[in-house]
Subunit: 156 residues, 2 copies
DNA sequence: TTAAATAGAACTATATTGGTCCTATTTGAA
DNA sequence: TTCAAATAGGACCAATATAGTTCTATTTAA
């Protein structure tokens, strides 16, 4: 469907809120009230984010979660990696080798991989800090500058 | 899952093959033999592509399909639009308004939309002709040049 | 010792997708 | 005129993926 899963969407929402209060330890209960999401859902998301070291957790009474590092150092791509089950790639065969019978003489797989690289780079270049505030019409984006020329399109 | 559907994948494969023979009218049976996909699947894909005017069809005996326009004028984004059920967008709320309770005070929706715009532009800038041959390490990509600065990432 | 918290894993229900099949329509050719 | 070869459209079922919930274990402050 070319959509990120809802868990990933929730994850960006949760992390974006947490980014506004870097020193605060958030419990699931607290985030539930603020974000109007169900507690089990928030809990599930934070557990996965913890496993991927995007948040750090403190267990026990008075425990909770906080960002594991500054919001400028957490990218949307990293959130996707943590919350999506499959490895990154717009098609199955371009993400994982050996999933398709005709892989041997497939002519488009390599090109899908190039597309993946460029899309990935876009997502690498958006960080949590960018998601916190409604962005003004931005100046030259690092994202765009950074995108290397991976694909040539025949001029039309 | 941040994946294009299999139908979309099949669609690019079929169209890429057809792009190599612009004047030939392909029947489903013919494509079946060449591409090693099942006939009903190829048929389904081509019908959808026809509805979106990416291929033109000739009905009746000796009928078949051909690209509706030159391969330089069919983009991967258009193929996705034709074969995916949902409108383009990495999250549901950023693709379709009114799908989320908390849309009113959601802080990240607008930023997802900016991300959508940039990703979309990447896909707009890859055309079928680009998928036909294994691309050499390409020179400056129109795709990249074209991507406008929609998102600012705080320098790290 | 207890209550408040996270950790992990399993489970169920729903939604989406993939794939197939059926019927209608069109059209070239015998 | 009839038949066979083709596409058009839609409905359907099976498989997969996702969402959401629940249960048990563990940790730790008070």
């Amino acid at each position: 469907m070319l959509r990120v899963s809802k868990l990933t969407d929730y994850g960006t929402l949760v992390l974006t809120h947490m980014a506004g209060f870097p020193d605060h330890l958030f419990s699931v209960a607290e985030l539930t009230q603020i974000l109007h999401l169900n507690a089990p859902t928030i809990s599930k998301v934070l557990k996965a984010l913890g496993r991927h070291e995007l948040v750090s957790s403190v267990r026990g009474a008075r425990g909770g979660y906080a960002l594991a590092r500054p919001a400028t150092q957490i990218s949307v791509a990293q959130i996707i990696d943590a919350l999506e089950d499959q490895p990154f790639g717009l098609t199955e065969c371009s993400a994982t080798a050996g999933t398709c019978d005709i892989e041997g003489d497939c002519r488009i797989r390599a090109n899908w991989q190039r597309i993946n690289t460029v899309v990935r780079r876009v997502l690498d270049d958006v960080c949590l800090a960018d998601m916190v505030e409604p962005l003004p019409l931005a100046t030259e984006a690092r994202m765009v500058r950074h995108a290397t020329p991976a694909i040539k399109c025949t001029p039309q």
